[in-house]
């Protein structure tokens, strides 16, 4: 495995959302078209089953459906694997939105073009990690660079590749003995967020 991509360790992710916040601060996207999302699976609804969080953004696929679909060649795959969207070439036709099975490209109504995660390419060019990776407090989110071992393409419930895009994302699959600790951590994080919202008067 070479090239840009993310490694999400489901044993470590507590669903705090720091990656989403850091991404938004770094890239300035609006709430309607998030570049990164944290998707909880089985959060406190089915206590018998495992609970974990999928932090997902653009997967900088090896065979990007967006790149193939774009009529104006607004997408490029850099030598380091980052799939870059060139805003100045985008028609705003939204065909890439229809083609991507991961919901990565999103139409920005204010700009009248599609935008998506660019793996913080400016930071990467400066030798820094993407903002989401830098912000992760548990190191659950990491860069999947050539330095990392080629982790097997783990089968994670909730994540499939129906279009054969070969997404550059790998998962550390949750271990059963950590489920209880994870759940407690997630609930604590959520309760903390709830307390903070209550303190601000949001709820």
């Amino acid at each position: 495995m070479t090239g840009a991509g993310f490694m999400v360790d489901l044993n470590r992710c507590v669903g705090c959302g720091a990656c989403v916040l850091a991404c938004r601060l770094e890239n300035g996207w609006g709430s309607g078209n998030p570049w990164r999302r944290v998707l909880p699976l089985n959060l406190r609804r089915h206590p018998g089953g495992p609970t974990y969080f999928l932090s997902v953004a653009c997967h900088h696929c090896e065979e990007p459906a967006c790149l193939k679909a774009c009529p104006s060649a607004a997408y490029e795959k850099r030598a380091d694997g980052i799939v870059v969207h060139r805003d100045e070439r985008c028609l705003g036709c939204r065909y890439c939105e229809m083609a991507c099975p991961f919901g990565a490209p999103r139409f920005d109504r204010a700009l009248a073009i599609v935008t998506k995660c660019d793996f913080c390419r400016d930071r990467v060019d400066r030798g820094e990690p993407p903002a989401c990776v830098a912000a992760c407090p548990t190191e659950a989110l990491r860069e999947l660079g050539s330095a990392l071992p080629d982790v097997a393409r783990a089968s994670v419930p909730g994540f499939v590749d129906p279009a054969g895009c070969r997404p550059s994302i790998r998962f550390g699959v949750p271990r059963s003995d950590r489920r209880a600790a994870l759940l407690a951590a997630a609930e604590e994080a959520l309760a903390g967020a709830g307390r903070r919202r209550a303190a601000r008067g949001d709820v």
């Binding site: 999302r37 193939k68 060649a73 985008c90 939204r94 919901g103 073009i113 909730g158 054969g164």
Partner: protein, 274 residues
């Protein structure tokens, strides 16, 4: 519709384009069958070209940055959407030439073949644009749908303007309607339970999919076939025209895209059931 106004221009564009290009694509066959003469072919081509032009204008207007549209020309023949756009412009040009060139029978015949070929290729391209593997409600069998529906519309439009040709066109029209119904059945079966294969976001209208597809079957196939057989081509034309709108509404309205969120929701449903 899932994403607000995004699909409405596509509904209008594709309905008008299928009607217009279908009429143009039918002209060589109608001339060959003797169901149309050069003046009527030119008259129909004028209407058809106007429909394609309006559809194309609506389609261009839904694009976020219209001034960049020429960038799409660089991927003609490589990208399905670029190819569709290029073929739409070619159909428009060929249709306009057929409608407004001098009324010489030889020229009209040649231009009818040219416009017909351009229109038929364009209609195939319209179907191929939506062969996207992440979209679970647009299976491959739907690719030939626009061409069959368009040709059927063209034949019925001809019979509507010149009822005397109905005995000649009835057989081919019924065959086209039958083929179109088969394609619809393939689509219907494929989208009946797409969630059994993949997690997909279903729009609210998905709950009424059988009603919508049933209305489409009645308006595009059953009613026109019955009305044509009963000698009422004008009513058949109205029915298939309305049916085209319903068809495109169903096509875009029932689109179901696979996403990670939908896949997770599917698993949660499984967990819920125990």
């Amino acid at each position: 519709m899932r994403t607000g106004m995004h699909e409405w221009p596509l509904v209008l564009f594709s309905a008008l384009a299928i009607a217009g290009a279908g009429t143009l694509a039918a002209q060589p066959a109608l001339l060959g069958l003797g169901a149309a003469d050069p003046p009527s072919a030119r008259s129909q081509a004028a209407w058809a070209t106007a429909l394609v032009a309006v559809g194309l204008t609506v389609s261009f207007n839904h694009v976020g940055r219209r001034r960049r549209l020429l960038l799409a020309a660089r991927r003609l023949g490589v990208n399905p959407l670029s190819t569709e756009g290029g073929l739409a412009v070619a159909t428009l040009a060929a249709g306009a030439a057929l409608a407004w060139m001098p009324a010489d029978p030889a020229i009209t015949g040649a231009l009818a073949w040219l416009a017909g070929a351009a229109a038929a290729t364009f209609l195939l391209a319209v179907g191929l644009v939506y062969r996207l593997r992440g979209q679970v409600a647009w299976p491959g069998v739907a690719a030939g749908g626009p061409l069959l529906t368009g040709l059927a519309f063209g034949f019925i439009a001809c019979a509507s303007t010149t009822p005397a040709v109905l005995p000649v066109t009835l057989g081919p029209t019924l065959a086209l309607l039958g083929g179109d119904a088969l394609v619809l059945c393939g689509r219907w079966l494929a989208i009946a339970r797409p969630s059994s294969r993949l997690g997909a976001l279903h729009p609210p209208i998905y709950r009424r999919r059988h009603w919508l597809l049933g209305a489409r079957l009645v308006l595009v196939t059953l009613a026109p076939a019955t009305l044509l057989a009963g000698g009422a081509p004008t009513l058949a034309d109205l029915s298939i025209g309305l049916g085209l709108l319903v068809d495109r509404l169903a096509f875009y309205g029932l689109a179901a895209q696979h996403t990670t969120e939908a896949e997770i929701a599917r698993i949660e449903q499984f967990l819920e059931r125990g």
